[in-house]
């Protein structure tokens, strides 16, 4: 890449105005396992393929989808260990919010705080950005919500989204299949079909 002389230091902008490390982090995400999320009328579904490196791995010990609170869950694409750190921090932040306001943390607040952590690691010395994108699914007073959080710390609300390998095919498939008044069962079915599309790639 033409900007290679600027890719050694994270905290330096390249002449084209990019932070090259974040671009690299997104590449790490793009080569991770496919994960997707669909927002239905009465809930949200997130799904991913649990591809294990060998049949000898104990599959019960691997948890790709995790709970952050009783009503917010998360799936990732990219580096598993990085997602563990984020989930742990988010769980703690959710508890701190509850201790302060005696209210279960709204999904937008938790996403905002998780994104703030990810951004912090793009502007500090001696650390690297997280190599994961997260899909946060939650249900609170504002209904079902689905958010994607990127290594740069930016977050987007989606009706349906996919990340990781085969993302363009998955997104095209979702665009065709998505309807605003989808029921949760339909959403689950669509999610599985979308994952199957990229199964043999």
């Amino acid at each position: 890449m033409g900007d290679s002389q600027y890719s050694f230091s994270l905290t330096t902008f390249s002449p084209s105005g990019k932070l090259v490390q974040i671009e690299h982090a997104l590449m790490a995400v793009g080569s991770g396992q496919t994960s997707l999320g669909i927002k239905a009328a009465n809930g949200v579904v997130i799904a991913t393929e649990k591809k294990l490196p060998s049949i000898l791995v104990d599959e019960t010990s691997v948890q790709k989808i995790q709970l952050m609170t009783t009503n917010i869950g998360v799936v990732y694409s990219g580096m598993g260990p990085d997602s563990r750190v984020l989930v742990r921090k988010s769980r703690k932040q959710a508890q701190q919010y509850y201790r302060l306001y005696k209210e279960p943390i709204p999904v937008t607040q938790l996403v905002r705080e998780t994104a703030a952590v990810m951004q912090e690691f793009t502007q500090s010395g001696g650390v690297r950005p997280f190599g994961v994108s997260l899909l946060v699914a939650g249900y609170d007073d504002n209904g079902p919500q689905l958010f994607q959080v990127d290594p740069s710390g930016s977050y987007f609300s989606w009706k349906a989204s996919a990340m990781g390998k085969n993302v363009s095919n998955a997104k095209t498939f979702l665009e065709k299949r998505y309807t605003d008044d989808m029921e949760l069962d339909d959403a689950v079915h669509t999610a599985i079909l979308t994952l199957k599309e990229g199964y043999f790639l």
Partner: protein, 273 residues
């Protein structure tokens, strides 16, 4: 500024820097401000299927009843509850904090919380504050290893017992338990014994009163019976209210002072922007 992801040891515990100054002030004759203790009767028993916790509902500030129907049985986890005696703020804060820590632990382990975990978190916190956090607790719950009942004292010591009482009404309640408790009580017998103990505290101790709260914890199920018994209902002398008819009160003297207007309206310019 720069935050790395190392977990630095937290600066906790009590700051003893001002103790020398306090001693000097005491020698000069200054009084330390006293803090308010709330009288209470809190109890717990182990019965054949699990644990039952009970508490009265009076919160006092010295000789005055501050809250006639407060909640002394605090939630720690779906299978663990904790009754608190002592300073109300301390019991609330410490149980909330440990409840939060238990929840995080639950997520990390993927398992149901254990009573001994709650116990250890509470006692280590209280010990590090050397008794200045005035919380005396009765902790009970049912986990994978069975039903458990513990008492926690403000300095951080704990007991494991089949029946326990704490608070100013503990002697009255313990008297009931010592004479009537036996192993292997059924749920109804347990609730009855427990209510008797709390009522003993309510009627014989000034610091306890009002109603009885009960919480029954069994394997896989918890029942929180708020105000299970109301032995002190409010009685009104007259349901019609009081009616003061003119002429029933003797008038000794009358003085009428007309109110004079002191304000003078003056025409002023509007405030400059």
């Amino acid at each position: 500024m720069v935050k790395t992801s190392i977990n630095a040891p937290t600066k906790g515990g009590f700051n003893f820097d001002l103790c020398q100054r306090n001693e000097m002030l005491l020698k000069k004759g200054m009084q330390l401000p006293t803090f308010r203790k709330t009288g209470t009767t809190i109890v717990g028993i182990v019965f054949q299927d699990g644990v039952i916790l009970g508490a009265d509902t009076r919160a006092t500030e010295g000789p005055i009843v501050a809250d006639k129907n407060c909640e002394k049985i605090h939630y720690m986890a779906p299978n663990i509850y904790c009754c608190g005696a002592g300073t109300a703020a301390d019991t609330e804060a410490v149980t909330d904090m440990v409840s939060s820590q238990l929840q995080l632990h639950c997520y990390a382990t993927g398992r149901e919380s254990r009573v001994v975990t709650a116990l250890t978190l509470l006692k280590s916190h209280l010990f590090s504050y050397q008794g200045h956090v005035s919380a005396a607790l009765v902790l009970g719950g049912v986990d994978i290893s069975g039903p458990h009942l513990h008492t926690v004292y403000p300095h951080g010591s704990t007991d494991t017992l089949p029946f326990a009482t704490m608070g100013s009404g503990s002697l009255a309640a313990m008297a009931v338990f010592e004479s009537k408790f036996r192993e292997g009580l059924t749920k109804d017998e347990g609730i009855q014994l427990l209510c008797e103990a709390i009522c003993s505290g309510i009627f014989n101790d000034l610091g306890s009163g009002s109603n009885v709260d009960v919480c029954i914890i069994t394997k896989g199920h918890t029942e929180y019976l708020r105000n299970h018994q109301l032995p002190n209902p409010r009685t009104y002398v007259s349901s019609r209210g009081y009616n003061f008819v003119k002429g029933h009160t003797e008038v000794l003297s009358t003085k009428i002072t007309p109110l004079k207007s002191k304000a003078e309206a003056a025409l002023v310019d509007a405030m400059e922007e």
